[in-house]
């Protein structure tokens, strides 16, 4: 596959500009770049979802101009999306059949799914309901759907974000097996260690342009990160601090999930001391959202199940919990943590009204609120014309910086954050992590829920895992190995034997 001079402009932004690189047969090629670097647009062009303005593509010596994804698939290009397009109420085989132009009879299809899944070490029962599958298993459905087309080029968009370390290992073995059979793979990720372990070549995008190519094995992760960002990165620093009194305590917390296909919390217990950062890992959909709701006060429990500085707060709502000294930051920025159509000033008021005393007798002090919004914008380097801008006009990373600042500047005793740096570029992520550590250093108890293991290992003092709504006992982060973490995360969901034949 050869790409030459691909350019695609949207109104107001050039997504790709003169992008050229080649992917050899049987090569795993990494596409690296921050959010907004133009990776998705490039991939959409290859997959026939978007037409390039300028430039051409060549597939195995033939000019390649896919008008739509179906044509791309016919020519041997398959793609596994980051967000699965599966129907939860249908079986695996039915879902696979839906993606085919001319699906064979169900029985035959089931047999083919079984044989492909065995051949590539991806165990999957074609008769199971997709709604019952784990995220890792759902991804296998998508992969097998692609493999059934016998692709020449397989595109994988952030495939490991939903997997446990063991599942990642199994996926990599499958990908290596495909490579050995001559399939080319375009692998998109910003997890640099994975790319070093898996990929043969890498192309790095920044602001829509190719800024470098390298052989990942010969570079360090830091070198590649700096190429991506175009600047040198700082490592968060933490000052050693004595562990304080227990600030936030949760004991035997069980709540039903308010979300469809959600996971209820089952007997979650932990304590966080003042100045301590507790990292909670786990594959998405294992109760992270529910835990945040239960801690923010949007879900209530018997009072003594959640205690803050030895006061029972489990039965209090979000406003009372903030008054008591607990602030939280949900994962979903557009619509949950922030009101997209409201200005940044109004969004600052949304959670900070109580602790920053932005109201008097219920009347809003808009001048003070605007000043607070400006303080966040300055302290957290939020790129925006001003506090009057609507939240939806900010990019995901910028808004996240604003929302992190809003919570972290409230001088709270306990802070709960779900996915602090999700979708945030590397430089901003580093600065957010630093701010979280700074808050802990001034005596706040911090709970960080994240799917980014590297992030948790970097900032957490203790480490626990949420799995199907249950939480493991927190352990000191120091001295934990990746293997132990993987076992805490529930291993590979019944895949321990997957690649037995090769091992």
């Amino acid at each position: 596959m050869l790409l030459e001079g691909l350019t695609k402009a949207y109104p107001g932004v050039v997504a790709n500009s003169d992008v050229s690189f080649g992917i050899g047969e049987g090569e795993i090629h990494a596409l690296l770049g921050e959010n907004g670097a133009g990776k998705s647009t490039l991939v959409k062009m290859i997959y026939g979802l978007v037409k390039p303005d300028v430039g051409r593509m060549v597939l195995r010596g033939q000019p390649y101009v896919p008008a739509k994804p179906a044509e791309a698939r016919r020519l041997g290009v398959a793609m596994v999306f980051q967000h699965f397009s599966l129907f939860e109420a249908l079986t695996v085989a039915e879902n696979v059949a839906l993606g085919m132009e001319t699906p064979p009879p169900m029985r035959e299809l089931a047999a083919r799914i079984r044989s492909v899944s065995e051949e590539y070490g991806l165990p999957l029962d074609p008769g199971r309901m997709v709604g019952d599958l784990s995220a890792g298993e759902r991804q296998r459905v998508e992969i097998i759907r692609c493999l059934l087309q016998d692709p020449k080029l397989l595109i994988m968009d952030e495939p490991t974000s939903v997997l446990t370390p063991q599942e990642v290992e199994i996926l990599f073995r499958t990908l290596r097996q495909l490579r050995a059979e001559g399939t080319s793979i375009l692998y998109i990720s910003h997890k640099l260690e994975e790319i070093r372990a898996l990929c043969d070549e890498a192309t790095i995008l920044r602001r829509g342009r190719v800024v470098g190519t390298c052989t990942p094995r010969e570079r360090t992760a830091r070198e590649m990160a700096e190429l991506m960002v175009g600047a040198t990165l700082g490592t968060p620093t933490r000052s050693p601090r004595p562990k304080g009194q227990v600030a936030l305590g949760v004991s035997d917390l069980s709540v039903a999930s308010p979300i469809a296909f959600g996971t209820p919390l089952r007997g979650v217990s932990f304590t966080v001391a003042a100045g301590e950062v507790l990292g909670i890992a786990g594959v998405a959909g294992n109760g992270q959202d529910e835990l945040l709701l239960a801690l923010s006060g949007e879900l209530r429990a018997p009072g003594d199940r959640v205690r803050l500085n030895d006061h029972a707060i489990g039965d209090l709502g979000p406003a009372e919990r903030r008054r008591a000294g607990l602030v939280s930051a949900p994962e979903d920025r557009y619509g949950h943590a922030a009101a997209p159509d409201m200005s940044l000033t109004e969004n600052a008021l949304l959670t900070a009204a109580i602790r920053r005393k932005l109201t008097r007798h219920g009347f809003i002090d808009w001048a003070k609120t605007r000043a607070f919004a400006e303080e966040i914008i300055a302290d957290y380097d939020v790129r925006t014309p001003g506090p009057g801008t609507a939240a939806r006009a900010l990019s995901g990373g910028n808004l996240q910086k604003f929302l992190m600042g809003r919570e972290l500047l409230q001088d709270a005793d306990a802070i709960v954050i779900n996915q602090p740096t999700w979708g945030v570029d590397a430089a901003a992520a580093a600065s957010i992590r630093q701010k979280i550590l700074d808050c802990a250093a001034t005596g706040a108890a911090v709970v960080v829920i994240s799917q980014d293991l590297d992030e948790l290992l970097e900032i957490a003092d203790s480490f626990a895992v949420l799995n199907e709504g249950r939480m493991t006992k927190p352990r000191p982060t120091q001295g934990l190995t990746m293997d132990e973490i993987g076992m805490m995360m529930g291993g590979a969901h019944g895949m321990e034997v997957a690649h037995h034949a090769e091992a």
Binding site: L49, S85, G99, A338, A339, D341, T351, I364, A390
Partner: protein
């Protein structure tokens, strides 16, 4: 091919231009309608929009303007609070009727006593009646998750049946020689809601409407409760994250809009209408929905919109008596206003782009 594209920031220009453009479009489409009915469109439009203010009978009609605008504004203010929070009270007409019945009942029970406490008691009864009628959809929504749009709308028809019953039965004038309708409250000093300045058309209802508009404006722009109302309407999950109790908000907004509608009914039955009649409900409660949107759900905008809508009422009546237009044509004309308003409103958040067909296909599989 026309495409809609979401604006990154809501357009300030269109926020204010929308009502003006909608009124102009209504004039054009209405003019075509009137022309199709064989009338001179310019004459009809002039009769509706110009004559009530500057025409031959303006000295009388200007007063009528305030008489009509008062209840429209009062009801629309209450509705706007709910609409801002995403709570759709469509049954203001019913709350208006029940408020009038409750107020009239109190006044008639006191008849023929003369006391200056009777009128205030009637005000309270009117507000209470509207509030209680609005509580029915509110409680059903919070307890059983019913749709407040349907329940409040259906209750309008229940209220209309009750008011017909009241006029012919339990509130009927015993000295009315068998004619339906209650005693005329406006003829007794204790229960009357007279014009405050002769010929102005301003009565206590108009005063209340203006005071409420200011209070509502302060609430929405300066008070944390108003912020929570707007938040709940724009981002319900963010509102829960803020700590808003959705059920409490439903009770509050439905209750407030019901009470204001009840008040409007009270001022109407003691003033311009004077008595409970079979057809007491004249559609103020429904027209107020248009007024609320025409005023951009902004209390000060609603005051302006109330006057524009009153103009179509007063001018529409003129047009039907002088030019022989059917009432239904005037109602279609008013309906067009809401239609164009909602249509043009889209331009606040979206812009229209012209594009050659088929250049982009967006979205995943």
């Amino acid at each position: 091919m026309l495409r809609l594209e979401k604006r990154p920031n809501p357009s300030r220009f269109w926020l204010y231009a929308t009502p003006v453009v909608a009124v102009l479009l209504t004039m054009i489409a209405g003019g075509l309608l009137f022309a199709a009915m064989g009338k001179n469109p310019f004459e009809v439009i002039r009769t509706i929009f110009w004559d009530p203010i500057f025409g031959q009978f303006a000295f009388y009609l200007r007063g009528q303007l305030l008489v009509k605008a008062g209840p429209l504004i009062l009801i629309a203010i209450g509705l706007a609070l709910g609409f801002r929070a995403g709570i759709w009270n469509i049954g203001a007409e019913g709350q208006y009727i029940i408020g009038a019945i409750c107020a009239a009942a109190v006044g008639l029970a006191a008849y023929p006593t003369e006391s200056r406490w009777i009128f205030p008691a009637m005000v309270i009864a009117g507000a209470f009646g509207g509030w209680a009628w609005a509580m029915i959809p509110a409680i059903l929504k919070t307890r059983f998750n019913t749709n407040e749009i349907l329940v409040s709308l259906m209750l309008v028809y229940v209220a209309e049946t009750i008011v017909a019953k009241a006029a012919t039965g339990f509130l009927k004038n015993p000295e009315g020689m068998g004619f339906p309708g209650s005693r005329n409250l406006s003829t007794f000093p204790a229960t009357a809601n007279p014009e405050l300045f002769a010929g102005s058309g301003l009565h206590w209802g108009g005063v209340t409407a203006l005071v409420m508009a200011i209070l509502a404006w302060v609430l929405l722009s300066r008070h944390i409760l108003g912020f929570q109302i707007r938040l709940a309407g724009q981002a319900p999950r963010a509102a829960r994250f803020n700590g808003v109790n959705p059920n409490r908000l439903v009770m509050l907004c439905m209750g407030a809009s019901g009470a204001l509608a009840g008040l409007a009914g009270m001022f109407e039955v003691t003033g311009p209408a004077g008595q409970i009649t079979i057809d007491f409900g004249t559609g103020y409660g429904f027209t107020a929905i248009i007024v609320a949107f025409l005023g951009r759900l902004n209390p000060l905008g609603i005051v302006l919109a109330g006057f524009i809508m009153a103009l179509t009422y007063v001018g529409g009546e003129m047009a039907s008596t002088n030019l022989g237009l059917p009432d239904a044509a005037i109602q279609v004309f008013q309906g067009m206003l809401l239609f164009f308003l909602l249509g043009v409103d889209m331009l606040t958040n979206y812009r229209i782009r012209l594009r050659a067909a088929g250049t982009t296909v967006k979205g995943a599989l």
